[in-house]
Symmetry: C2
Subunit: 299 residues, 2 copies
């Protein structure tokens, strides 16, 4: 009997199911004390998302002969961090957004204080998930924590968000725009991919091609997101749209069709970066092309 | 030549100097981009504090023949987390406090958004400091991350803060009060002490006495803090006082003198818990007695 290779869509569907079910195990029940905290955490964590970042981690692991089982917890750690960052982004003192992943923003349901604490708890949990991944070597766990932390801190998501917030309603140059998005979105994309590769045993120079891939993919993803913010509806995107009117985006620099071309170019660069890995990296190439084709909905 | 044993005050002074100088190395300069983020981080981290928690870590390590050098980074990680929690506590959506460690609250200087991001970055940095402590074994680093994470999350600081916030202006029973403070203050005290002992190689059952010590010391510390909030001045405490008038505290249950007796009893219990370790634990006993004697100023 010949067995058909699963399509990318099937693989992504399986990954999403595995990730969602593991995330459910990794955080306390809503009935556990303090109930409100756990409700706030689960409210955002279980909201429908594409789980693009965990998919990147798991695909990166499997193309290098790691297994889904080994990569699952690190993939969930990335999603825990991402969810924390979405909760913070939406706060009144930040983007003051009302809708996310098709649901009311976390702070509108649980209050600003609990939202902040939930985000804090999610970040904290991400690190314990990585450090407690019993089926990974202690060395790998330590490497994963380092990759994750670098993506979040002063060179990563927090840095990007800081500059973004302080650039709103100001004219910024292209360099600053790239600074913001290579950190706000790019850094966690890179960490997601590198963590998957690290689970499969890659380190040092061997990570460079996947680093370049994820960096360009992250930027493309951000541009597609900017386009959706402008052109999409809240129903399509699951979040407040036209949030960016006061912000300089890739679209405000290049117009919609220029931005679309740029995203397409970046995907080409991302795909080409994988050349040293040969054909085995095809699932990562396919993922990049599918994001470009289908757009970015409810990430 | 006979060498005099240093006094506890001298030891604590040395610890504070070492911790402050190491903390300074562990976070980016204010001149590094994004400057505002690093200014916000350093503003709270370098504010004068007693460094009680790092002292606990380092004393716990040294009484079990660990060295100050080995314990220094874990001790700093605890202080990074503690500083993050202070920034969050003071936010308008939480205690809405204006003064901390003798300085204006972080959000009054940098804005609420940057305060939240600074706290997030501090928590993140704590985990990378632990996982990158190159002179500790990978096993110890992983154990430290687990201890730290447990102290922060759903069973720790975040849980205590959640219940505290949702109990303000409500009548709560003694059990709830203990729930709040054993987590808000106690959990990080326990983690501080356990991390020091773990650095010195203790694990499992051997941690039980120091766990009991730190738990009781943490509660005593909280009661002394409640007393100071009521009786102290902003000048003495370095923070907004009479913040707790709307809250149920140990003082509102037992009155000032009852609270003072309770703190004293808890310190006795803490000191007695150390019996299995014999005389070598004396510095920890002395620390407990000195906190009771001198009160809690600018922690």
């Amino acid at each position: 009997m010949s067995r058909r290779q699963p399509s990318l869509a099937e693989t992504l569907g399986e990954i999403r199911t595995r990730v969602d079910s593991r995330l459910d195990e990794l955080v306390p029940r809503e009935s556990e004390k303090p109930e409100l905290l756990h409700q706030a955490i689960r409210y955002s964590l279980t909201a429908p998302g594409k789980r693009v970042r965990p998919a990147l981690t798991i695909l990166a692991a499997t193309v290098f002969r790691g297994s889904i089982d080994l990569a699952l917890d690190p993939a969930c750690a990335v999603e825990l961090v991402h969810t924390a960052s979405l909760i913070l982004d939406d706060l009144p003192s930040m983007d003051d957004a009302t809708l996310r992943r098709g649901r009311k923003a976390n702070h509108l349901v649980f209050g600003e204080d609990l939202s902040i604490l939930a985000a804090f708890a999610l970040l904290n949990r991400a690190f314990s998930v990585v450090s407690e991944s019993a089926h990974l070597s202690l060395r790998t766990r330590s490497d994963l924590a380092a990759i994750l932390s670098r993506a979040i801190g002063s060179e990563g998501v927090v840095a990007g968000q800081t500059v973004d917030l302080r650039s709103t309603a100001q004219t910024i140059d292209f360099e600053t725009l790239e600074y913001i998005h290579s950190r706000k979105t790019g850094a966690l994309f890179i960490a997601s991919a590198e963590m998957g590769a690290a689970v499969a045993g890659l380190s040092g120079k061997k990570l460079e091609p996947i680093h370049a891939y994820a960096k360009n993919l992250g930027l493309a993803f951000q541009i597609l997101d900017d386009l959706l913010d402008l052109e999409g509806t809240a129903e399509q995107t699951g979040k407040t749209v036209q949030q960016d009117v006061k912000k300089t985006t890739f679209v405000s620099f290049s117009g919609a069709s220029g931005a679309r071309s740029l995203a397409s170019e970046l995907v080409t660069v991302a795909v080409d970066a994988l050349r040293p890995y040969g054909r085995r990296a095809d699932p990562l190439r396919e993922l990049a092309r599918s994001l470009l084709r289908d757009g970015v909905v409810q990430h």
